[in-house]
């Protein structure tokens, strides 16, 4: 372990920071999660990995087979110090992590999630959205605009993704800090609206 190197690379938090909060950035392979986290993070994004047994392995076990496939999944994360006392962590992760302790760690206490989507393969966003719904984690959707990707009207994308009317849908460029910040802002505004609206709805 290069701990000396680690302390040289580390960017420490201001001593005044008292509160840390987290948001997830989720989406399928190559949708731009790492780019998005990298655009926003004040530190060079860090990565942790976890080895997981694939879902199919359970079936293999039941069949008495010795075959077990394991795969390594990675989580990239970044940090934004938002005030003297508050720091926001962004965890970028693929949905298949849900079978791991790392996923539990990430979702526990998370305020919400931003789902990144790609118009060339919208259907690949369904698994991650259903995982979030299972967990009751509120989310907004940001279409990461890739050059050459088809451009659809918002209504068409909503329909294709089967979004609830209240779920925010924005378009962003994950490479761009301002654009990515705006996407996060729409998520946080949505989370806020859930809090202010719930009491009346329960009446």
């Amino acid at each position: 372990m290069d701990s000396a190197l680690a302390s040289e690379r580390a960017v420490y938090l201001p001593g005044t920071v008292r509160t840390a909060v987290k948001l997830l950035v989720v989406g399928h392979f190559a949708v731009g999660k790492t780019t998005f986290v990298g655009s926003l993070s004040e530190i060079r994004p860090l990565r942790t990995e976890e080895t997981m047994t694939q879902a199919g392995a359970l079936v293999d076990d039941l069949a008495g087979s010795e075959r077990k496939t394991t795969t390594t999944v990675a989580m990239d994360f970044g940090r934004l110090t938002l005030s003297d006392s508050l720091v926001l962590y962004l965890f970028g992760t693929p949905g298949q992590l849900r079978f791991t302790r790392l996923w539990k760690d990430m979702t526990q206490g998370a305020m919400g999630a931003l789902v990144l989507a790609d118009t060339r393969r919208l259907e690949q966003s369904f698994p991650v959205m259903s995982v979030l719904e299972e967990q009751g984690l509120p989310y907004a959707v940001a279409v990461n605009r890739f050059e050459g990707a088809p451009v659809f009207a918002e209504e068409e994308i909503r329909e294709a993704l089967d979004l609830l009317p209240e779920t925010p849908l924005v378009v962003c460029d994950a490479r761009n800090r301002i654009s990515s910040t705006r996407a996060l802002i729409s998520l946080v505004q949505y989370l806020q609206s859930l809090h202010t609206r719930t009491p009346q709805e329960n009446v």
Binding site: S3, S7, V21, V188, H195
Partner: protein
């Protein structure tokens, strides 16, 4: 892509943690902030715990960052940190539970902070 990544050490994770898969305390969130006590002796600590201490003596970091910088799995990092809390080497600052700080207020602070970056 990440420059610091290199081949995994020869030491298996369960050796690092003395065979334990769970920390002695269950209080670590990924964003729990940890700080090292500068006046605690490092003698007798395992190389991995010494690594945690050397990293954390520089200032406050989250559990996730400690794992990331030391290139250790989060589960292993939590075991090491748990021991170091028990031995008085590390103190933690947990994410503030919603009961203490209303989530609406927290969300407003997040929103203000994000808007200030535009």
């Amino acid at each position: 892509m990440s420059p610091g990544r290199r081949e995994r050490g020869l030491v298996r994770p369960y050796v690092v943690t003395d065979g334990r898969a769970y920390p002695t305390r269950n209080t670590f969130d990924l964003v729990t902030l940890v700080m090292a006590h500068p006046d605690r002796p490092l003698a007798g600590l395992s190389p991995e715990k010494r690594g945690v201490m050397e990293l954390c003596l520089g200032g406050a970091l989250s559990v996730a960052e400690v794992a990331g910088y030391l290139e250790l799995p989060v589960s292993v990092t939590k075991v090491l940190l748990g021991d170091l809390v028990d031995s008085g080497h590390i103190t933690t600052r947990s994410p503030i539970p919603p009961a203490e700080l209303p989530e609406t207020q927290l969300l407003q602070e997040v929103l203000d902070g994000l808007r200030a970056r535009l």
